[in-house]
């Protein structure tokens, strides 16, 4: 099938501002948006810049705005989209080139919640045991692939770039509710201010955007409750 793409292009060395360019490519209906973009880059215009790695919805490299919604290009079939398929870089970050945005502020916020196991006791001789119920408590937030789709769909983040953002909160949740972790207080402290969890206005864009189906707003709400109750 003939598929038309409309891509927001920006080359900082050449363009004063972003502009739309249109492409027509021949694809199978079962091809994904990423296949279309690679077809464009490989056959029509090699200057198109985009991030991709695993191409199977796991690495989280190719999150972009597809027909106005944050999606992973490798997880959306072209037959399910209205044409022309509009492609834009994620909102809220500086665009480096075309679909590539500067993710550094995103990862700085990710690092700020200390997304690793913190242990204050001496390490156990064998593995750290955990019941199924204890594991279930944070199961949803283990699914995050750090694609940035949630954070860049959040109006609170668009208006306040200092907002820690849903993705970092999801990562904090993953450790705060982990029975093996002992760094809850530090993480809760990092999130307990105006640019932490309290910046969330429960717009739910993040839930809609997450390609992993994580209930992000619920996770943020659970952290708010933990702060209000003073315990996890």
């Amino acid at each position: 099938m003939e598929v038309s793409f409309k891509i927001l292009r920006f080359d900082p060395q050449r363009d004063a501002r972003a502009h739309w360019e249109e492409y027509e490519v021949e694809l199978e209906p079962t091809d994904r948006v990423l296949d279309g973009l690679e077809e464009i880059k490989g056959r029509l215009d090699g200057t198109l810049a985009l991030r991709r790695s695993c191409a199977h919805g796991i690495c989280g490299s190719d999150a972009m705005l597809i027909n106005g919604r944050n999606r992973l290009a490798c997880k959306v079939l072209v037959k399910n989209l209205k044409q022309p398929i509009t492609i834009e870089p994620m909102r809220g970050f500086n665009v480096l080139k075309d679909l590539i945005v500067d993710m550094e502020p995103f990862f700085a916020k990710y690092r700020s919640v200390q997304p690793y196991l913190i242990e204050k006791d001496a390490p156990p001789e064998k593995e750290r045991l955990q019941s199924q119920a204890q594991r279930e408590r944070f199961d949803d937030t283990t699914k995050c692939i750090l694609c940035g789709a949630c954070t860049t769909s959040c109006p609170s983040f668009w208006s306040n770039p200092d907002y820690v953002g849903p993705a970092a909160i999801v990562q904090a949740h993953r450790f705060i509710f982990d029975s093996r972790d002992q760094g809850k207080e530090e993480r809760l402290k990092v999130l307990n201010h105006g640019d932490g969890v309290w910046r969330c206005r429960t717009v739910f864009n993040c839930v809609e955007a997450c390609p992993r189906g994580i209930n992000v707003t619920r996770a943020i709400g659970e952290i708010k409750q933990a702060l209000a109750r003073g315990k996890v």
Partner: protein, 129 residues
């Protein structure tokens, strides 16, 4: 774009936490108080029958002064905090600081005026006739 985040820990004063808790508690209380107010003023009484004498009779009892005082404080601070949140979202420094301070100023004036009226209201004998 700020990139300072993550390089240092942000101080946590807990103000936003208390504001969040206040919004939830006041919201529930206001649901009861405001619905009660609505029914008393518009359903159980005819709005055309509410006059100075009605207020005098009502404010003869301490309970109704307390009721109105609670509603005034909760509704005003609830609304002010909501507006502060919106200003916080849409404005940037230095305009934000000015707008929020003005909001607090206006809120304080209404809070004092309303409290003054409720506490110090004295029926005037002449007008009760």
């Amino acid at each position: 774009m700020s990139t300072s985040y993550g390089s240092r820990e942000r101080p946590s004063d807990g103000v936003e936490l208390y504001a969040w808790i206040f919004m939830r508690i006041s919201g529930v209380l206001l649901l009861v108080l405001a619905l009660g107010h609505l029914f008393i003023m518009h359903v159980f009484n005819n709005v055309h029958g509410i006059d100075y004498n009605f207020v005098v009779a009502r404010y003869g009892r301490l309970f109704w002064r307390g009721y109105d005082l609670a509603m005034l404080w909760l509704a005003l601070i609830h609304g002010l905090n909501g507006t502060r949140t919106i200003l916080d979202d849409y404005l940037r420094p230095p305009v934000r600081g000015f707008a929020v301070k003005s909001l607090y100023g206006i809120g304080l004036i209404f809070l004092v005026l309303g409290t003054w009226a409720i506490i110090f209201f004295q029926p005037t004998a002449g007008r009760m006739m």
